[in-house]
């Protein structure tokens, strides 16, 4: 018995040593590696950075939750979807990923609808939404493949691909359940902050974006952007490490919470934005009030070298159309 105990204790100690070494190893690989640092500074020197103008806008909106009690996450994503569409981003440039198990859920007292407010003034699940990935298609693998465009081109239609280039501004919105440097996908798997950071690195190298606005509304959301290292990324999260994000209110008839606080106050601001609006990203971030949101929203700007007071909201939430009126030509 003593022998057995001794063996178990030895094994446990060995595991502890291995665990601590393993965690450190990945961090070194991801961040402290000299090659990566050099790569990053080379890219910052070689590429123009965020000062040039973008030419098109895309949005990737993901609700990572499923099940009825996560109604609010679907409503969050659909609210953002409605906003970016209103400001001009067409469906062909929006990738919407939802579990989509709420509108027709048997528990839904208002079948075929999704509301983000107890007053039920606006049905987000109207007949004009285009969900690109639904149900069990919403996985970490799918998400990362969409970002890096490493998809099977023989079977993936164009509408489900993120066809961006080096002139594209991308708004990436994630909502669901998260923790310290991870985000749950449909209660089955997780994506880590490292994975998303590495995916963005691949996007930068393959010239798939001009600028990214990364917005995440989960618990401990700010930890998800802590590992980014690619240029031209503006990141905002709803809560800090060890802090939860909260829902805003529930609808007593629907029976569950219908919107999260961080997303609610973002929408409150964005409802004031029209296509030609002069409001800036700084205005949006200045509007965050920890008292109202019940958590401390964070913004990461060190990878984004533009002054936020000069970046219009519509640079990420709206769309750019390079319309050029033709000159009158002589008749042939």
């Amino acid at each position: 018995m003593n022998d057995l105990l001794r063996i178990l204790l030895l094994a446990f100690a060995a595991c502890l040593v291995l665990v601590s070494k393993g965690v450190k190893a990945h961090e070194e690989t991801a961040l402290d590696n000299e090659t990566l640092q050099r790569f990053l500074s080379d890219q910052l020197d070689a590429r123009e950075g965020a000062t040039g103008k973008h030419a098109n806008n895309w949005a990737v909106l993901v609700s990572t939750s499923r099940f009825w009690f996560n109604y609010r996450h679907l409503a969050n994503a659909l609210s953002m979807y409605r906003t970016v569409k209103r400001l001009g981003i067409p469906d062909s440039q929006i990738i919407l990923m939802l579990a989509d198990d709420v509108a027709c859920n048997p528990r839904n007292a208002f079948p075929g609808t999704v509301y983000n407010n107890a007053d039920r003034a606006l049905d987000l699940y109207s007949n004009n939404i285009e969900v690109d990935y639904r149900g069990y298609e919403v996985t970490v693998d799918t998400f990362l493949r969409v970002l890096t465009d490493k998809v099977d081109r023989t079977t993936t239609p164009r509408s489900k691909r993120l066809l961006t280039d080096e002139n594209s501004n991308i708004f990436i919105y994630l909502t669901g359940h998260g923790g310290n440097e991870f985000l749950k996908f449909q209660d089955a798997e997780e994506v880590s902050a490292f994975d998303i950071a590495d995916a963005f690195a691949q996007m930068w190298e393959t010239k798939r974006y001009h600028g990214i606005l990364f917005m995440i509304d989960t618990c401990q959301a700010n930890t998800m952007y802590s590992k980014f290292y690619s240029p031209n990324i503006l990141a905002v999260g709803s809560s800090e490490l060890d802090e939860s994000s909260y829902s805003h209110h529930a609808d007593s008839d629907v029976g569950v919470a219908v919107i999260d606080r961080f997303t609610y106050y973002n929408l409150e601001f964005l409802e004031k934005v029209e296509k030609g609006s002069e409001l800036t990203m700084k205005d949006l971030f200045d509007s965050y009030d920890p008292v109202k949101i019940h958590s401390h929203a964070g913004v990461r700007t060190d990878l984004y070298n533009r002054n936020l007071s000069e970046v219009p909201i519509t640079d990420f939430f709206g769309n750019v159309q390079a319309v050029e009126i033709d000159e009158d030509d002589d008749e042939e």
Binding site: G22, T29, T35, G52, A55, T154, R158, D198, E324, D326
Partner: protein, 516 residues
């Protein structure tokens, strides 16, 4: 006390324990290692770096070693008072050497009036004495360059300087060791051309989709009823055929392998437009036109799939819009970068004119227009000139291929958890092979067929490079925290490892006791 083991039982127990350990060490460990190792096929990273260095060194192209591209400038007689074409040419070369620029192009100056036996000049040099600003004209393929001279007898230095300024910073002269300048000079960085120029170099297929868009609530209008008639559709096809045929025969085919068109007219109807249309009626500014465009949720009628190796099919949409009935509807057309073009019919729809406009829009969107120069100004409009453009496009494709391969190299080095399948290695090897073929054809001494082949090889190199970097099996293995791995493996392996270790320990102790 348990009964003592017999000698045979002890031997058997030892054999069992050692057998388990043998299986664990010689079979289990290698199998575990093999199945958990991320498969990374070695890539020829040094070969990629060599390509990058070759490009930075100018691909071995020089004006002295390789006549390269031939540019003929016909010099008008008003420039040749007191000097000769030879003297002007020598002075231009002196300026080139002095400024440290070089060129893959060979400049030849000829007397514009006496050019028997020489190739048709692509440019004409005109010397102007007044301060009248000449309108830039393009007569067929000839482009005029104007140089101001103070009197009727311009010196060779003034004329050469004007000619040098006309070309340098443009796509003809570039610093051999700074290919960034050629990129800035010949790659439009903003506007319509920049978003499509890459499409012209990389896209292996372009699909043009034509749509007739009708404002549904004005269907009582005669022109809308007419548009729905079969006769209108027949007329549409007849006029569209002319546009399509001219594109097929045109220069676009030099660098795009496939252009396809919707052969049927797509009809779409819009309903929710009144607010935006009212704004456009009042003010047809680009912003209002953009808002109107946002209300059109057009989908191309046919989406092509061009096979397993296609990178992207660039789809351009052309819309003939019949607006709501209005008394002041003026015909208007506009283009949208990376999207297509729109012709809005006026009170009297004119289908032939609309088709001609579509043709011009297609040409505008798919042909480089003017370039942003390093000093921030715009160059003149340059139409693609056959083999000259082929060489430019070749160099741009080569540059793109090397950039893509270098990006792949950096990613593979910096992300050790990224799998690298063998297909990626094959694609990289193919890209490098095509790259070398393209460069060999660039040294072809003005052989147009070879230059076209070079362009094909360069486009293929860029294509293979893109396929390699976007290979769907080259995915990053997801990060799983080590503590999570321990948490998974410990309950799995713990119950197995404990008796193995305990059994081995007992065998070892017994062996030591045996020793005297």
């Amino acid at each position: 006390m348990p009964p003592s083991e017999s000698a045979e039982a002890i031997v058997l127990r030892r054999k069992v324990v050692l057998s388990f350990w043998a299986v664990f060490v010689f079979l289990g460990l290698p199998l575990w290692f093999h199945t958990t190792t991320i498969h990374r096929t070695p890539l020829p990273l040094s070969a990629i770096e060599t390509l990058d260095n070759e490009l930075k060194d100018g691909l071995g192209l020089s004006r002295d070693d390789d006549p390269g591209l031939h540019i003929t400038v016909g010099v008008k007689r008003n420039c040749l008072h007191g000097t000769t074409t030879l003297e002007i040419s020598e002075e231009v070369q002196r300026l080139v050497r002095k400024e440290g620029t070089s060129s893959v192009f060979n400049l030849e100056l000829v007397d514009a009036q006496e050019c028997s036996g020489c190739s048709m000049p692509k440019y004409t040099l005109d010397c102007i004495t007044s301060d009248r600003t000449p309108l830039p004209k393009t007569i067929s393929d000839v482009e005029e360059i104007s140089v101001y001279i103070p009197s009727n007898n311009g010196s060779k230095e003034i004329i050469a300087s004007g000619l040098y300024d006309a070309f340098v910073g443009d796509f003809l002269f570039f610093n051999k060791h700074d290919l960034g300048s050629i990129d800035r000079a010949i790659s439009p960085t903003t506007g319509i051309a920049s978003t499509l120029y890459r499409g012209a170099t990389y896209a292996d297929a372009i699909h043009l989709s034509f749509t007739l868009l009708i404002a549904l609530d004005s269907s009582e209008s005669e022109r809308h009823i007419e548009a729905l008639s079969p006769e209108f559709q027949t007329e549409w096809r007849a006029h569209a055929e002319k546009v399509w045929n001219s594109l097929k025969l045109g220069e676009l085919n030099r660098f795009v392998t496939s252009i396809t068109f919707d052969t049927d007219v797509g009809f779409q109807y819009m309903t929710d437009h009144n607010h935006e249309w009212a704004r456009v009626e009042k003010d047809g500014s680009p912003d209002n036109l953009s808002s109107l465009l946002d209300t059109w949720d057009l989908q191309p009628i046919t989406l092509l799939t061009t096979g397993a190796n296609s990178s992207a099919v660039k789809v351009l949409q052309f819309v003939y819009f019949l607006p709501p009935y209005s008394t002041n509807t003026k015909s208007l057309s506009f283009t949208v970068g990376n999207w297509g073009g729109v012709v809005m019919a006026g009170d009297t729809p004119d289908l032939p004119a609309a088709m001609r406009t579509f043709g011009r829009q297609i040409d505008k969107l798919l042909s480089p227009v003017s370039f942003s120069l390093a000093n921030g100004s715009k160059s003149r409009k340059v139409l693609p000139h056959g083999h000259e453009f082929a060489r430019i496009a070749t160099i741009m494709n080569l540059r793109g291929a090397v950039e893509t391969l270098s990006a792949l190299s950096r990613l593979v080095t910096s992300l050790p958890e990224m799998a690298v399948p063998s297909t990626v290695r094959d694609l990289v090897d193919s890209a490098i092979t095509e790259w070398h073929s393209a460069v060999a054809n660039l040294h072809s001494n003005f052989d147009q067929a070879a230059e076209n082949r070079g362009l094909y090889h360069a486009a293929a190199a860029a294509q293979f490079a893109r396929q390699a970097v976007f290979d769907k099996d080259m995915m990053l293995n997801m990060f799983v925290p080590f503590e999570h791995k321990i948490a998974v493996y410990l309950p799995l392996l713990g119950p197995v490892i404990v008796p193995l270790v305990a059994g081995l320990r007992r065998v070892v102790i017994e062996s030591r006791k045996k020793e005297p």
